[in-house]
């Protein structure tokens, strides 16, 4: 580390990562709807078209199934595509290619084929985009063997996960929460690749483990700060990788705090929070002093009005309340 930092945004960090990947490896290219001339729906790829040209910053038709499948095929053909799907809701149109092809081909071919594709997409609620543009479907992808799924929440991860994902011989799905793109902060000027696996302890604590990922990380850190004011020491774990899950980090934390709350913007039923909770039960049951708590989205299509949207997704007060329940406070 040089010690020098730059002030940037999450968006800028992802853009720097794409730029870095394009510079490192001529097989890397970005493809997706409006990634080129328009500069990306969330302006992530702004400026890249001018610098790298239409071959490597490749605008596609509105054909999620077609261009995602083409990305998978190009990966098999020796390229290192970054497929940008505008939002997770649109990725449902490409689900067949991701689940039936990308995830299966290595195993189904007896290990002969490799699909080193990276699929990036925006996820989550918070921008009043209503029911068809506010999903958090990370759990669906994390359900599927053959995929790796990660959710960069910090600037370091936004900057560093992409290259590691591209170097991975397997298909990697990266989820970027829409409410993170504008987050600002300081990033080491020489920030580089970070692993796409493994959870991180973002705040150490001794009373309760708050386990989360992606867009809920900063709400959870805010909650931990508020809990500290009430004399409660909360440990915050950022899962980072949603498949595979880092059980060891979670279990070690629970063994220390004996209480856990999982915060997940997905709907409660069949959620990642359910999976994490079950793993704690399987692997750390005798460490627990209270039932594992969950803070998830209310089971409703996410509504448009601000007050209803806010009420539907996890917020810091919900997390604080769940932590206090776990502590019987």
């Amino acid at each position: 580390m040089s010690g020098q930092t730059i002030h940037t945004t999450y968006r800028g960090a992802v853009r720097a990562a794409i730029r870095d990947a394009l510079d490192r490896d001529e097989r890397v290219f970005l493809m997706g709807e409006d990634v080129g001339r328009y500069g990306g729906c969330y302006a992530v790829s702004k400026g890249l078209y001018d610098d790298y040209g239409p071959e490597r910053i490749r605008d596609t038709p509105l054909s999620e199934c077609g261009f995602t499948g083409a990305g998978i095929g190009a990966a098999m053909g020796g390229m290192r595509p970054i497929v940008e799907i505008m939002t997770v809701n649109f990725s449902l149109l490409a689900l067949d290619q991701i689940v039936n092809n990308a995830a299966t081909l290595r195993h189904m071919s007896g290990g002969q084929l490799s699909v080193p594709v990276v699929i990036r997409m925006a996820t989550g609620a918070g921008k009043q985009l209503a029911a068809q543009h506010s999903h958090s479907l990370e759990a669906w992808y994390a359900h599927v063997p053959g995929l790796k799924v990660a959710a960069p929440a910090t600037l370091e991860d936004a900057r560093g996960m992409l290259w590691s994902a591209l170097e991975d011989p397997d298909p990697v799905v990266l989820f970027e929460h829409v409410m993170l793109y504008n987050r600002e902060g300081d990033l080491a000027a020489d920030a580089g690749p970070v692993p796409i696996t493994g959870a991180a302890v973002r705040r150490e604590g001794t009373d309760v483990s708050l386990i989360t990922y992606g867009g809920c990380l900063f709400k959870t850190l805010d909650a931990a700060e508020a809990l500290a004011a009430d004399g409660i020491s909360a440990e915050v774990i950022d899962l980072r990788s949603l498949r595979p899950l880092d059980d060891a980090t979670v279990v070690a934390s629970v063994a220390k705090t004996h209480r856990a709350v999982v915060i997940d913007e997905g709907w409660r039923t069949g959620s990642l929070a359910a999976e994490v909770s079950a793993r704690i039960m399987e692997q750390a049951f005798w460490e627990l002093d209270a039932p594992v708590g969950r803070v998830c989205s209310t089971e409703v299509p996410i509504p448009y009005p601000k007050h209803l949207e806010d009420a539907a997704v996890p917020q810091a007060p919900d997390i604080i309340a769940a932590a206090k329940t776990a502590l019987a406070r």
């Binding site: 199934c65 077609g66 095929g73 053909g77 039936n100 195993h107 007896g110 053959g146 397997d170």
Partner: protein, 336 residues
Amino acid sequence: MTDTQPTSGIPRAHKLHLSREHALHLLKEMLRIRAFEERCAELYTEEKIRGFLHLYSGEEAIAVGVMKALDATDAVVATYREHGHALARGLPMDRLMAEMYGKQDGVSRGRGGSMHLFDAKRRFYGGSAIVAGGIPLAVGLALADQMQDRAQVTACFFGEGAAAEGAFHESLNLAALWRLPVLFVCENNRYAMGTALERSESETDIARKAACYQIPSVALDGMDVIAIEAAAREAVTEIRAGGGPRFLECRTYRFRAHSMFDAQLYRDKAEVEAWKQKGPILRFRHWLEETGMLDAETAGRLDAEIEREIAAAVDFAESGDWEPVENLTCDVCTKA
């Protein structure tokens, strides 16, 4: 049903300057596929082969004709009805049979079975059970070739049922828009499982659909191996020269059921019989006999060679090992 074959009658040898050796090779390739699959059907009833088994009987001319136009470095994407494509592409019959059994000596270590035959070395990318699911992959393989300046072609096979899927239209559009080196080969056997083309498509002329995407398209007699090889060679030459994608609609017929579970309630036996009389092997064989290229002795020799190859393949599959259960999760991902 009326015969709407765009071409008919005697194969047009002149287009290919057909040598006797090549003609006999084409015949043998078709016979190999037919005999291999007939044996597979028997093995299915003996419960040696399980799961789904989709036979190619009646459509052999397409795989055989198109493969002859491809180089070893070209890629092939096929469907769940792909035994013929795999054999014609040169995948060894014994390892294919082992795959049908689910043995670890199979081309996909036994994990895929009939519908998922793969051979990375021969650039044979399977083997997809989702109708039209392989078409975007073919577009991507071709994109990789184009971006890496390789003069390679990706041949993509699918049935006429795929033309109803969005993946078909999205892929044709992309291939045409980016002028990708894809040879689209539609095997129009008139039935998507049990649904006749007229009952599922407002426009039943598949080649016309492709032409709407500015892809040069031609409808062919799918029972005429020579016509198919000639058209495929012409198309591949144009694609390799940078001409963008080409589309062949091969009008054919499936002589057997969709899969071994299909009672064929949706079509008349007379219709099937009528088509069998136009079958690719029957017609080509007659023509070879008429022109003196095939005599009884040669025919007997070909049959004996194929019989021996199949017997050896069955022995290989029978004596093969099952993959150890400890390997169950190998190759799900490269790293844990």
